[in-house]
Symmetry: C2
């Protein structure tokens, strides 16, 4: 069955999905790159980057779930890039180079109109101006029975959670402190929305928690 | 060397040290008792309650650290009891019965004057009206070279952290969602205060994280 999922979303001990002061140099904010310390050594990550080695433990098992049975992605504009406001031109095409690791349609939430951008390897970025429900409708259609992954950031996840539109959310709780950042949990009462922890497994570099609806 | 420590302070995935609506019936707030699910089965907890069984794994190892080399405790008034405002009488003597599990002097932060209360087993509750630094000074003196433990709750820990008075803080990250509650991390940037994660170990029922000063 097609699900709406969050996979491998990393948060600090404080619940921050990114550090402060996101920029071109630091897409995950100051100190935020440490959120991916558990992910970078995995075979799944290495494979995405064309390498054949990497760890194959619990962290890798959870990392791999972000790439299985995925038909479309949704992400916020800040996850797509550092450009704010009107798109000055069509030059920014994401952080991921000519061949992004998605290989499916990606719907980018934005308030500013822009034509789709077709990349190598099957990824096409579509820009959705009419909100999270419209984006999900388009993503579901594009996914053709496969899952829709909501990539982030934290504010996008909070919006989808509050609308009860996420079926399953895998978080990697990373043992780092960022100090300041965007909280995934602030102002969102997951139990009151019907969510609970369905699974928790200690990995090599993070604690993996799966949150589902009761 | 004498340290100022936090030991076995449990937080939910959202960083809450207690749930909402603390009361006589629910000292840790609504749903908050689940924060102790990792602690209750341990040999350390059982021993405190006069029982001789209990688990002896990683959770127990960390639980035991809260009782080793401890010369005095400090806690906030809400951790001491549900009474607010002026003390109506001397009847409330903590949650823990006639023989509390401290067996050392305990300094309770309050704005309302009250005479010390001597309990069985070596615990005496002292009420400190002149702030966290005065309480620590008295606790250090009483501890006689042993450690001072700051018990909580979250707001008391935040105050001591912001004053950089805590040497080591052990948190048990519990895989539960409370929805609402008192955040340990909100408004406190631990890295900017010189704190970092020095150790993290997956236990049976919680992930144990030790935070120290660099």
């Amino acid at each position: 069955m097609s699900k709406v999922r969050v996979a491998a979303f990393s948060v600090s001990l404080e619940g921050y999905g990114a550090g402060p002061d996101q920029s071109l140099q630091e897409p995950l904010g100051r100190g935020g790159e440490t959120l991916h310390d558990w992910f970078v050594p995995t075979r799944t990550f290495k494979k995405v980057h064309g390498e054949s080695d990497g760890t194959t433990g619990i962290d890798d098992t959870f990392a791999a779930r972000g790439f299985e049975h995925v038909g479309a992605w949704i992400m916020g504009r800040n996850m797509f890039g550092p450009v704010r406001g009107d798109w000055p031109d069509a030059s920014w095409k994401g952080w991921w180079g000519d061949n992004p690791p998605y290989h499916v349609p990606v719907f980018v939430l934005t308030h500013h109109t822009r034509a789709p951008v077709e990349m190598e390897g099957g990824t096409t970025f579509h820009f959705v101006m009419d909100g999270i429900e419209a984006a999900l409708k388009r993503a579901r259609h594009a996914a053709g029975g496969k899952d829709v992954l909501i990539g982030g950031g934290a504010s996008v996840l909070r919006q989808y959670l509050q609308a009860r539109l996420i079926d399953e959310m895998h978080l990697a709780i990373v043992p780092v402190l960022l100090g300041r950042g965007e909280s995934l949990f602030e102002g969102v009462s997951l139990p009151e929305l019907g969510y609970r922890v369905t699974r928790h497994v200690a990995g090599e570099g993070a604690t993996h928690v799966v949150i589902g609806r009761t």
